[in-house]
């Protein structure tokens, strides 16, 4: 009787080890496969979401779809591309009567763009990120009448870096992609 029990439990033990071995083998094989062919296996830092400005159509989805409010996407100014125009397509409403900082002329609904006089005829525009809601109006304006120096970018000090980005899922242009955290911006 004793012998029989031992035999039975031996067999069960053996089968158990076989099953566990198979499980470990499957996981190990998966890991090996990824290490050989997948992008960024060795990266310790994560891949992060970013907007490709070349694809972005400023549809406004960034303002409404982010899981945090206000959105982790902000307007980003690439100063090196800016023409420092007096008549800024990103700052003024089309057909603005006077080129000044009065609210009725401003394109930005939250007044997040600051205009500073540098020297005639140049003005510098900076974004107050606390106010920006990522509606993309200024970006559109700058693209229609300007150098396209205003772009929408995911700000990684705010972004929660969800595994599935809710804005990316809603983006009609498929402009979101994952980039290595070591170069987290696509300035275009």
């Amino acid at each position: 009787m004793d012998n029989k029990t031992t035999k039975k439990s031996d067999r069960r033990d053996f089968l158990g080890w076989m099953a566990r071995g198979a499980g470990l083998l499957a996981l190990g094989a998966g890991g090996f496969l990824f290490s050989k062919r997948s992008r960024g296996w060795k990266n310790t830092s994560r891949f992060v979401w970013q907007i490709d400005p070349a694809k972005c159509s400023q549809c406004g989805a960034c303002a409404t779809n982010c899981v945090i409010a206000p959105s982790a996407v902000k307007c980003t100014h690439v100063f090196s591309r800016c023409g420092y125009c007096d008549l800024c397509g990103g700052y003024f409403q089309p057909g603005a009567k006077t080129l000044d900082t009065s609210a009725q002329n401003a394109l930005c609904p939250t007044g997040a763009i600051k205009r500073k006089f540098i020297e005639p005829p140049y003005y510098e525009y900076t974004i107050d990120e606390k106010l920006c809601v990522a509606c993309g109006k200024c970006v559109k304006g700058c693209q229609s009448f300007g150098n396209g120096s205003l772009i929408l970018q995911v700000r990684h000090d705010l972004c929660l870096n969800c595994d599935e980005c809710a804005i990316a899922a809603a983006c009609p242009e498929n402009a979101f992609r994952k980039v290595p955290a070591t170069s987290p911006a696509i300035l275009g």
């Binding site: 899981v67 023409g83 020297e119």
Partner: protein, 411 residues
């Protein structure tokens, strides 16, 4: 879900209409600020905390056998992995990254994401579902509200218990085709962890939590797709939580005196009762029933496989590449003009459709196997002469241990 991509040609993003000024006042052009993502170390730190929590949970479940310690661990896990880290990345969701990376070598797959996926499974292979018992934030948020758990009738339990198989199949299908991460999108609790989210997500989370007062941990038992993998791993676990402490002869739960005090202690219906003599009487009938089920099984698998194939069309419609092609072809039909869709868009959509045809059929077959397996398990005589946790269902929460009189005597 309609995605209209590139319907209207947009302006190129970067144009040089106005030259860069040369300032006479010597004004310096500021550089664009690019905030860096959280440091690389955060994820390694998280992973080591996950491994630490898993180790602690294994020790608590197998060695210290203390519900109090497990509850403490689960509150800590909920606080850190849930509310501090906002529940992302989690092992449940990492399942989708793994599926996507298996099918698409261009998808990023850092090693620690794989470790997130694999670690709870490895622990389950050796110690049971300790991840569910004390680490998973999704489970822990339900654990704290399970105030008045009712016993779920076993037929409901079995029917609902099939849902995770379907969800797992669909989650892998949608992730592998690069369509969506549905586990993340329909995660009911992540909205709580972030203190924000779309109203339906908060509402769904609230409903699941409300149900969770009476049906303990409904998400874990009837929805969680990762739970399926953990069930499999745990079913062959090396050691597992036992209700009665083990005897010296090493037999798990060998100390059980079949007093039935623990019988109703499990909120999850995961305690197997000793097999009554009834089974012996109906042996012949049982064999016939098993034979019938085994004969029926291939039919079930084929039917569900075919159902999956039929569902592949609508499922593929959820993919943005397919939806785009559909919208464009409708527009082309409506306008009667030669706005022919580009061959590239059509080929891409066709490729996705093909993947869905194969994948959805496979999901159907997989679900059919799960259904057939459940039926077969109903026809097989259960084993065991003591009260013990069902290794597949047991979440290693250690609640039952306190109900065992032997435990009380020894301590």
């Amino acid at each position: 879900m309609f995605y209209i991509e590139r319907l209207i040609p947009i302006c190129p993003a970067v144009v040089s209409r106005f030259p860069r000024p040369e300032f006479e006042s010597g004004h310096n052009i500021p550089s664009t600020s690019v905030p860096a993502p959280p440091g690389a170390g955060v994820h390694v730190f998280d992973l080591s905390l996950l491994l630490l929590a898993l180790t602690l949970a294994a020790f608590i479940a197998l060695k210290w056998r203390s519900r109090r310690l497990m509850a403490l661990l689960s509150v800590c896990s909920l606080a850190y992995f849930g509310f501090v880290r906002h529940g992302c990345l989690c092992s449940v969701g990492a399942l989708q990254n793994v599926s996507l990376a298996l099918c698409d070598s261009a998808a990023p797959m850092p090693w620690y994401v794989f470790a997130y996926f694999a670690a709870p499974l490895v622990f389950a292979l050796f110690f049971g579902r300790v991840f569910c018992g004390g680490v998973c934030p999704l489970g822990m948020i339900q654990d704290v509200v399970a105030a008045k758990p009712l016993r779920v009738p076993s037929w409901i339990e079995r029917v609902l218990g099939l849902a995770p198989y379907l969800y797992l199949g669909l989650a892998v299908l949608f992730a592998a085709t690069g369509t969506a991460f549905i586990i993340c999108r329909f995660d009911p609790f992540v909205g709580f962890f972030r203190f924000s989210g779309p109203p339906w997500m908060i509402l769904a989370g609230a409903l699941v939590l409300l149900a969770g007062i009476f049906v303990a941990r409904p998400y874990c038992r009837y929805i969680c797709p990762y739970g399926v993998l953990l069930r499999w791993a745990s079913s062959v676990s090396w050691r597992h939580l036992t209700i009665a402490p083990s005897h010296e002869d090493g037999k798990d739960g060998g100390g059980c005196v079949v007093c039935a005090l623990c019988a109703d202690s499990c909120s999850f219906g995961a305690i197997r009762k000793p097999v009554s003599a009834r089974w012996e009487e109906g042996r012949k009938r049982g064999i016939r029933k098993l034979a019938r089920t085994l004969l029926l099984a291939p039919l079930i698998v084929v039917v569900f496989g075919f159902a999956g194939y039929l569902a592949s069309g609508p499922l593929a419609g959820c993919d943005r590449r397919v939806a785009r092609e559909m919208v464009l072809s409708h527009m082309a039909l409506d306008s009667h003009a030669d706005t022919a869709i580009s061959a590239e868009i059509q080929a891409e959509a066709e490729w996705v459709r093909w993947k869905f045809r194969v994948g959805a059929t496979a999901v159907g077959v997989f679900f059919g196997l799960a259904v057939a397996g459940t039926l077969v398990s109903l026809s097989v005589k259960p084993k065991g002469d003591i009260f013990e946790p069902d290794k597949m269902k047991c979440l290693s929460c250690v609640r039952c241990v306190d109900y065992c009189p032997i435990h009380k005597r020894s301590s």
